[in-house]
Every structure is written in C-alpha cells, then in structure tokens.
Symmetry: D2
C-alpha cells in the first residue's frame, strides 16, 4: 500500500509499505478514507520526537472503514465506518479505568509515533474496541476527522482543565489550529469573554470569526497590560496556553486572576519560569495534559447537534498521492492560511 | 495595653500600645486570652513583608472574648468567646461570595500585617460577623488556637487543593509545623501512604508519630529516587510543598504521578523552574493558595469530635509578659523542638 | 406610598401603605423602578402560603434605586441602581457561608411573604449588602428584573442541579415561565437535545422559539413513550420538573436515563409516588431546591454578554397603577399568552 | 464439579454441575477458593428475582485462581490469584466508559443471576480483563471477599453518593451487613457523627463497635425525633438507607438536613411516598445506585493499608460441602448474629 513514511529528520516519503495485519486478538485493520496532518507530525520531522523511529508511517488522525478484526474485538466488524482516536486505550489498565487514556500503560500516543500511523491506505489499530468510535449514519465524515485529535485536545487540555464556565473570562494565547479548537469548544460553556492573543493578525481575524469577543496582537509585548485593561484589572478566569514556549506560558501566569486556572495545551521543549514569589498567594491552578480523548463521544454529539461547527477548521483538500504538497501547504501556514488539511486516501 | 510591636526589621518590643476601639460599624474588639506565633511573624521581623509597617502589633492567631461591637455586628455580643481567623472576610465582595476570603477586596490577611494584630491584650477585628467563629461550650480553647491559621492552611492549601483521597499516596515536603498540619488533616481522607520528607531527623520522627507511613531524610539529594522506590516507580498522587524554596517545589514536580497534584503551601521568595518540557504531557495540576479559612467551621467539628488531635502541635507555653522568650524559643525550633507555642494574654 | 397588599385569600388591593424605614443597621430602603408578578404571588392569593399574613405587600422581584441605608451597609449608598434578589441573605450564618441563601436562618424567601415586598413604590431590604446587586452602567434594567427570581430559579434548581452538560439530553416538563427560564439557561451548557413537554401547544411553540430541539404535547398521556423514542430507548440525562404536581414529577422519574438526574423546580402541594422498586438500581439522582440566587452575579454577566436574551420572557407592560390589570393578564396566561409582565413603579 | 444450584423458589441444592469452559475470547475460568452469601441470594431463593432462572449456580462474590483464559484476555493468565467483582464490565460500552459498570450493556449484575455464579468449584467470568482484580502478594484473601460486593456497595451507593465529608453528620438506617459496610467505609472520610438506626439492639451494638458515635433503636417509632435531638434540630448531612422498605426510606427523607443527601442502598420491592410538598424547598438530593464496583481498586488499597478492617464483617466459616448449613446460619442472622460467612471451596 501507499504510505507517508518518516525516514529520519527532515526526510519523509510517500512510498510502498507493507499492508498491516492483525497481530493481537484486540487489533483491527482500518482502511483509511480521510486523514490529516498535525503540528506534531512536523515536530517528528524535525527530529524532536525520539520515540518515533525512521521507517514509521506518520499520522494519528483519520476516519475509515474496518477491514478486518482480531478475535478479541467485540464492538466492531468489517465494514463499520469508524473514527480513529489519536490515543490508543487498552481500557483495562489503572489509567484507562480512570479515563486517563493518554497514560495507558500499553497504549497512549503510539499511532504514527511508536507504531505505524494513519497517513496510509490502511492502519492497524490496537485495542480497537476502546480506540475507535462508530460513525453515526448521517455524519459529515470530514468534520469528524477534527475529532481524532484537535478538538478533544483543545477541549480537554484547554477548556475542561481550564474550567471554563458560563459568564467566565477566558484568554487563549495562540490562535493557531489548536488555539482555535479551544476557542470553538470553549463556547460550549458560554463564557462572557474570550480574548485571543497571537502575533499574526490573520490568525486573530480567524479567531474573531470563530467567536472571540476580543483579540490582542502581542507583537508589542503589551498583551498582559491589555488583558488587564479588558478585565478591569482583574485578569482572566482561564488562560489557555496554546503555543508551547516559555514566553506564552509566562504570559498566562501573568494574566490569570486570583482563583483562576492556567491550562497548558502547548508542547514545550524547554523549561519555563514559575514566579512563585508572587503566585504562591494567588490561589491559582496550573494544569498540563496530553489529550485523553475521553471526551470524544460527547464532542461527537455536539458536532452532530451542530453546537460546534468543526468544518470551519478545514481549509484545504488533497489526495493521498498529493500528501507531500499537503505537508508543504500545512507547513507554511502563515502564507497559505492553512488550518487543517484533509487528505483523502 | 501591652502589645508586641514590630519596630522595623529585626526590632520587636513588648510595649504599651493604645487599646483599640470600634472604628467601623462592623468591627468588634476582642480581649485576647491565648495567641501564638507563626513563621510569617518571623518573615515580617526579617523585613520581608513590605505591607507591614513599623509600629504594627504583630500576630494573626488567637482566641478571646468579645469586649465590644459596632452597631452593624449581628452575630456576636460582648462576652462571647470567639476564635479569630487569620483572614478577615467582608462577606460581601465577589471573592468572599465565592469563599475566597484570602482575596477579600477590603480584608484578606491584614491582621498583624496592615493593621494591628493579636499579640496584645486586645485586638480590633474588622467584619467581625464573618471573621470570628463562636467557640463551643466544651471546647479546648488552646487546641482551637491551631484553627486560626495553621490547620486551615495545611488543610486548604495542602490537603483540599491536593485532592487527597481514600487510598491515595501523599508526599509532604517539609515536616515543620505547616507540613505537620497538612499531615494531621490529610488523614481526614484516609490516604494509604503519607511520606514525610525533611532534612531534620527529629522533625521526621514527629511526622512518624503524627501518622506518616514513611519518612525520607532528603539530605543526600536522593529523595525523588526514594519516593519512586516507595511507589513502585509511579510517583505520588499528591505532593504537598511545605517549605517555600525552589528545590523543594521542584522535588514535588519530580515525584508527582501522572494525573497527580502538586499543592504549594510554602511562602516563596524567588521563582522556581517549571520543567514543562517533561511536564506538558504528564497530566498534572499545580495549585497555589493563600489560606481562605473557609474550612474553619468544618475543622472545628473535626477537632471537637476528636478526628484531629490539634493539641499535638503545641509544644510550649508562655505568658504575654514572656513573649520575647516565646519568639526566641519558636525561632530556634531546631534546638528547642518547638512546633507551636501558646501565649496567654 | 402605593402598594399592592394581600388582604387574605382571594383579596388584593392597590392601596396606601406606610413607606418603609430602616429598622436594622443592615437594612436599605429601595425605590422600586420596575417589578413583576410571580406564580408564587398567585399561590399566596389562593391562601396556600401560610407564612404570608394579610396586610403584607406582595412581590419579591424588581430593580430600583437605593433611597437610604442603615449604618451597617457598606456596599451600597443612596442613588445606587440595584437589582433585588428574591432571597434575603444575611451572609453570616452557616447556610449563607455555604452559598445556600435560601435557608438563611434569618432571611431566605421573606420578601412579599413574611415581610413587605416589592410591588410598591418602596421596599425595605434586610441585609442589603448581600441581598442586592449593583446594576452595571449599560444594563437593560427591564431584562434584569428576570434575574430577581425566574432565571436563577430555572438555572439553579433546574440546570445546575440537573447537571446539564455539553452533548447531554434534557427534557423540561412544563413550558411555562419557569420551564422557559430553565430552557434559556440550559443552553449555556450546549446540550445536544432539549425536549419541552407541556399540554399547551402555544407554550410549546414558545419553547421551540426559545431553543428547544423537540416538543411533546403530553395530552395523550404518551409523553414517556415519545421521549424514549426520541432518545433511542435510553431516556434523558436530565429531566427538569417545572410544574409541581405528582404526574409531572413521576413522568420525570419515568424518562430519566440510568446515571441521570431529575431536578425538581416545581412547587408541590402534595406527595408523589417514588417507584423505588424500579429506581433503586437505576443510578439516578433526584434534587429539590428553593433558589439560592447564588448564581445571580454569573447570570448577570451572561445577560450582559448576550449569551442569554432575558427580554424574551417579557410579554406585557403595565404601570403600578394598573397592577390589578397586570395580575389579571398574568393570571389568565393561557388566553393572554403572558409570560412575565413588567410593572413600572 | 460441585455447585450450589437454584432450583426454583425455595429450592437450592449442592449438586454436580458441568465445569464451565471459555465461551468467548474475553472469558476466564476461575477456580474458586473462597466465596460468600449475600442477602440478594436469599431474595433469589424467595423467587423475587425474575432474571434468575432455575438451574443457575448462585453467588456473585469470591476470590480464586485463574484456571484458563480466552485469546482476548490480556491482563490475566492461568495461576493468577484474582478477586471477582459482583459486576461484570465489558469496559467498552458507553456506560463502562463512564465507570457505570452496573449498567454495562452486556454485563452488569449477571453472575449468579443471568449466568452461573461463584458458589461452586469453578466459575466463568466474562470480560475477565475488566471484571477481575489481581490480588496483591501479601493480601488477606478472606478479607478481600468483602470487596466483591459488600464494601463497594456500602461505599459507592451509601458513602460516595451520600457525599460523606470530614466533619459531617451521617445517619445509617439499617445496621445489617450492608449498613455496617457503609459504616466502615464512611469513616474513610472522617465524619463527626455517625448515627446507626435499627430495630435490633445486637446489631446496634455491633455498629457501636464498628465506629458509630450514636445508636438509635427505632422500635418506638421515635427515630426521627431522636435524630433531630442529636443534631440540634438540624438533621443529618447524609442519610443512608440500608434496609429497602418504604418506612426506612421515608425516615431518611424526614431526617435529612437542608442541603443534605439521602443515599439509597436498599433493594426495594414497592414504591415509597416522596413528600415533595415539604421537600421541594429543602434543597436535598436523593440518589439510587446499583453498585458499579468502580471503587474496588481504591478500596483494595485502603484494606491493604489497614484503613479499613474488612475482616470484622466475617463471623462464620464453612466448607463448600457445608454450604446449606452456611445458608441456614446466614438466613437466621438475628439468632446466629451472622454478618458475612466465608465458604471455602
């Protein structure tokens, strides 16, 4: 089959790759119909993700059709249309029992990382019963690709961890795809104010269109000051970090109100300063989280009932044969204004 | 009246001071019967607390008898025996309405800081109705002095914020009075393991006596390693920071398990490193809190029903006339083995 | 001053009544600008509320301007525009400390019940600091009258107690003003389905207009069956009782899914059957609640930020001099299609 | 093999029964080492449980050793010592994903009810990976039998649902095995008062020994009055119903304080009266629950760390060959003072 293979830092190739087969009784093989590219795939290509070895098929998002299943699979059968979760959950270990699938002792984020992923014609899904979701009859499959990773990530790591509530004030630092996913899902809880902060006016304009009540271009280094002005000097109830660098994290701890929460979503490469000399008495909460995708069934319902318009995140379409061009478009988002790109397999 | 007055860094004196009078309709004047000394009083004396001006009577803990009240006080009347909260709560502002008295817009920690405190014969208590608690008939008044600050601080900032639960694993870094207060109150939730960590074997021995299931002397720099060994490589569900320096905070983030919480109790003077490059995906929570004393009524019940033996924290007794000696004893805790000292006024 | 006085069952009169004066240091006198009529006022007039004695001024809702305050009032001063809560909260007792103002030991629902109410030119508000809310500069005062009682009641007793969540399924039994208030505020949490159930097609049409995703006319006694059909045999996550009779309560327990909640809002006059022989194993929760109005500040923000359109509930306007006509219109809601009527004082 | 078979109302027999075999890939066969009898087994024998057909092996509790497993079982292997949960959980359906195993769409309470149970030499456990728990090396196996059903039932349905908290006041109506299980596990949260209510002085004496702070013999019909006296007229924060008849349920709703919870544990055969005419405004919560055994891992830790002495519940020991005598002893608990009986297979 055709697959996009990581061949070491800076090297990827659309090449022939052996079609996967059932290895464990709990496996399913899924024929991919649509997949997409994540910022994390770019991280891997830079060589930043040590667990991903050369020779691995990339991708951890997508929808498809069940091709075959192992004898231990009881929920799915060949022909079923399925949504693939970026997180593999055994459903049995202590972490899975608590809904913390991200730390599943034999799963977690392994697709397109420790094992072959979804940017291919077929993919092997371990623990299929608890790592796939049935696609409802009338669903918009393309919109559902947004449920593999980006919407649950924005929602769980940003909105749920950030305890967004009706009437509350939210700032989202970073108006890229993940920040926008947090923005879309934050509105499920009807906060009064959602302030998007970014360096790029185009992305802020998208934020405004997606429901932000205010936007701040932080190029001048005065974002904290401006947030304080917008909140009568109080700060925000929830500050969502959706970039992954020390400056944006520290901005979040600067603008969070007493009693508020900093919810980290960004993938960080270096440490940040934590100003405990002021924060110790501010009654704040800081959270980190690798997405668990435990909210996927719920998000599916909100997408189905049109409480979230997931399609808004999709800006470009490609065939699997054009996936290198898709990477190019996604990688140059500042120019192409790409958010999420759909790749049809 | 006699009062212990802060006269600038390094200078304190037991001196004649004007007896306080009702200034606002919501004030009460309380005749102190018993008070105590807090680590924060030592911070003030070092000159570390800018809000406390020379000439201020120190102290924010104690029990006493209501002497007089303003016309807006409806709950208390002269003669009532009362417990003084270290936190003054107006009961009306947005923060008080949410139970976050520490950030009361006109109160918070002001006693023995912004206004005269309790190490005196009398003290003025603003917003008396919501800052004092009635003392039950049969209560042990001396034990209740532990409810002014140290027990709610250990409980709210450490145990509640740390989400200690039946069966969970807890590490408390710092076995001084505040760490021990966390230890005593953590047991209200029946965790399976409570590991005390300190540099001082004597303090660890006290921790063991107060209910720790394991102790670690961290002098050798191997505390993290030892905690991992005790928890089968998993780390602790709750790590309580009860010292207030970067090293102990960073130890907490090193030993917290995925899904766990670092609850900061310590008063910090400098920033700490936050290793987001590893923590971003660990699904952890970090909390900070200045005590709200919102749990005082509940803790009072647990002390009354003997679920907590608060008296264990009291090691020494003095008269108000001996308060300089009391400070000396409390300040040299390593030698005197002082935890909390009672001062009778 | 002019006031609408309850003169015993079936008897009300707009008559001269002494203007209230400050009786306690914590009182404020408020000049009413707008008030409204509640279903509970009709209950009183039927003689169903024993605590309300003849001679009492009716009404527990409204907005106005502070006329005078007692010496213990610190938050408000004459001239302040204020929203009156239907619940009087001392802010000091155990219940108030927990945010359960409805059970305030010296307050609770007393306005227009145990003491004179708001359907008058002036009203005395006990514990003004914790029973009034400041009206923001740019607020629509008329919309805010909906925050005195009906919106917090629908929200706290129905939506919060019912744990409405994004993606969840809600049924509201009773599409009168209180059911509609639940409907409006339920949408703050973006449930997937909201099914309104009533006997009156007009009210159901209003429900549809206010955001219901489905409506059921229960005249044929098949409401439970229809709900099951709409929910694939599963039942609803939240069933909100907004009528107050056994049949509607029992309908709620019939349609609630395993793990779901029946949130009672209705005022009941007689007992209902609780079918524990089936419910014991259904993992359900049933809640009752007299509104606490603890959510008023939050609801104010959602109204101000246009997340809720409170004005939709207002169907008629009257002058205080026309209040008997207003009662007539409100009392014949089936004919007049009245929801809430505004009375200008 | 030998098994205790239900042969229709009033008829049970210890007889030869085919040894179970793996039927589904997710099955395990467990050799029973110890089992016990539950009140529900007596219900079945009375003919009250329609789902249990004649010919079924009774019993849903026990510990044992894995004998064989299907190909889909990944957690357990032959020779593993295991604790059997009374609830079978597929781990995949919507209910299991939420931790509501009691309503698993293909599991739930099926052992010794819809399929053969544990009062036998061997038992087939469907969905073994999520329905069995590994037994720690040093565990007291006999104590662990209490974790199959009775302790999680008392804890989840009574203590967790009842929101028992430090300092709170609890009444447990019914001091039989299940009420005592609630009593033991309630103490994990250090409530201030636990009042046991029963008709039998012997059972109340056991309650006292197990940690009750007060006991009430309700024979005189004055239990509600006495509870009010013990709680200064306020009622209890948590009322746990552990009998299963209307009178005891109604007692619970009579004694619950405003803001409190009635947690039903009892299995009811008929409806009860719910006095909404008074309860509608009492801000109470009523919960029902079939145990989910989701707390089993946590309870295992509390038993292992000696926070709970589970062995106290065991009063008698029998061999499997004596199981009819065991039923006799358990069935005549008033005379034999039996709580739980251990049967060694």
């Amino acid at each position: 089959m055709k697959a996009l293979v990581y061949n070491g830092p800076g090297q990827k190739n659309l090449e022939e790759h052996p079609k996967p087969t059932v290895q464990m009784p709990t496996d399913a093989i899924v024929k991919i119909t649509k997949t997409t590219i994540c910022g994390t795939d770019l991280h891997i290509l830079k060589g930043d993700v040590a667990t991903c070895k050369p020779g691995t098929v990339l991708g951890h998002e997508g929808v498809g059709v069940v091709d075959s299943v192992g004898p231990g699979v009881t929920v799915f059968k060949p022909g079923d249309r399925v949504l693939i979760s970026c997180i593999t959950a055994c459903g049995r270990c202590d972490y899975c029992r608590k809904g913390m699938y991200s730390h599943c002792t034999t799963g977690g984020w392994i697709l397109g990382n420790r094992i072959d992923g979804t940017q291919a014609e077929f993919v092997r899904i371990p623990y299929a019963d608890t790592s796939l979701y049935p696609i409802p009859q009338d669903a918009d499959e393309e919109a559902l690709v947004m449920l593999s990773d980006i919407l649950p990530t924005g929602f769980e790591c940003g909105v749920l961890n950030g305890k967004v509530q009706p009437g509350s004030t939210v700032a989202i630092v970073g108006s890229g795809p993940i920040g926008l996913a947090a923005l879309l899902t934050a509105q499920l809880y009807s906060p009064s104010e959602i302030i998007m902060i970014d360096l790029d006016d185009n992305r802020l304009a998208v934020g405004k269109r997606f429901g932000a009540t205010a936007t701040i271009n932080s190029t001048d280094g005065k974002a904290a000051e401006k947030v304080m002005k917008l909140t009568a000097g109080r700060g925000v109830d929830t500050a969502i970090e959706a970039v992954g660098i020390p400056a944006t994290f520290e901005l979040c701890t600067d603008i969070v109100a007493p009693g508020g929460t900093v919810a980290n979503v960004g993938v960080h490469g270096v440490k940040a300063d934590l100003h405990l000399e002021t924060l110790w008495s501010h009654n704040i909460t800081i959270t980190t989280r690798l997405v668990d995708t435990v909210s996927t069934p719920m998000l599916l319902k909100t997408v189905q009932s049109k409480r979230i318009n997931a399609r808004q995140l999709i800006t470009h379409h490609f065939k699997l044969s054009e996936i290198l061009k898709a990477y190019d478009t996604f990688g140059k988002a500042a120019d192409t204004k790409a958010l999420k790109v759909i790749i049809e397999a």
